[in-house]
Amino acid sequence: MIIRLIQFQDRENQMNPMEKSKWPPGDLVIWIFIMAELLVFGIFFAAYAFTRANHVELFNTYQATLDRNSALLNTLALITSSYFVVRAVAAIKIDDNKRCFQWLLAALFMGVVFLVIKSIEYQHHFSQGINLSTNTFYMFYLSLTFFHFLHVVLGMVILIAVALKARAGGYCAQEHTGVETGASYWHMVDLVWIVLFPLVYVMK
C-alpha cells in the first residue's frame, strides 16, 4: 500500500486547491437523506443513553458480554473502507476510472469484512439464545447494530452501482457527482458506527 501512496502523492500536488463550495460533495438529495438518517440514529442513540440511565447496572453487566475485539476490527474495517472511498473520489478527480474502480472494490471488500465479523458476533449471541426480548440492553444492542448492519448493506449496494459505472468509464474529472454521492453516503455509515462503537461497546 505504501508504494501506492508514493505513486499518488505527485498527482495530488498537481491538483488545484479547491475553493469553498456552497454545497456538499455529491447530490444534494443524498445529503438530505443523510441528515434524515443521522436523525434516526441520533434518536436511537439518545434513547439508548437515557434508557441506560435508568438501568445502569443491567447495561454495564451485559455490555461486558460483548466482544470488543470484533468491534475494534469492525471499526477499523469501516474506517479503512471509508478511506479507500476517499481515494476513489481522488482518483476520479484526475480522470482515472480504473483506479477509482479499484479503490471502490477495496472499499467494498472492507464492507464485506465488516458484515462477516458482525455476522459471527450475531451467530455467537444467537447460539446463546439471546434475542430482542432477553433484556433491554440486548434489545438496544441488537436493534442498533442490526439497523446499522442494514445500512452497511445499502451503502454497499450504492457503492457497487457506482463501481460498475466507474468500471464502464462512466465518470470523468468534470462529471463525477455519482461517485461523490455514493462516497458521502458511505462515510455516513462509517460516521454512525464511529459513535455507536464507543457508546454501545465501551462507555460505562
Binding site: 501512496l5 443521522l38 437515557f50 440511565a53 475494534l72 479503512t80 478511506y83 476517499v86 460516521l191
Partner: protein, 93 residues
C-alpha cells in the same frame, strides 16, 4: 525511500487523518478492554468519538471545503447527540 524524508507531503492529508482515526480507535478499544469505567472515562471516550466524527465529516466527507449550513451539518449532529448522551450519562453517574 529517500522521498520520505525529503518530501513533507509524503502522505496526503486524508492518509494522515486515516492513521489518526485508527490510532484513536485503538485508544477507545484499549479503554474498553481494560474495563475502565466512570463518568470521566465515558466522557473522554465520547469526546474521542465526536472528534473522530468531525474528522470524518471534515476530511472524508469533504465538508471543510464547504461553506454555509452544510459546513456544519455533521458538527451540529455530533454536538447534539454528544450533549444528549453526556447528559444521560451524567444523570446516571
Amino acid at each position: 525511500m529517500n522521498t520520505m524524508t525529503e518530501n513533507k507531503y509524503f502522505f496526503r492529508p486524508c492518509t494522515w487523518i486515516f492513521l489518526l482515526l485508527v490510532g484513536l480507535t485503538v485508544v477507545t478499544w484499549f479503554i474498553g478492554m481494560k474495563q475502565f469505567s466512570g463518568l470521566q472515562i465515558s466522557l473522554m471516550v465520547l469526546g474521542i468519538a465526536l472528534l473522530k466524527g468531525q474528522l470524518i465529516g471534515d476530511y472524508f466527507m469533504g465538508l471543510r471545503r464547504v461553506s454555509g449550513f452544510w459546513r456544519w451539518a455533521v458538527a451540529i449532529w455530533l454536538l447534539l447527540i454528544g450533549s444528549l448522551i453526556s447528559y444521560a450519562f451524567n444523570i446516571s453517574a
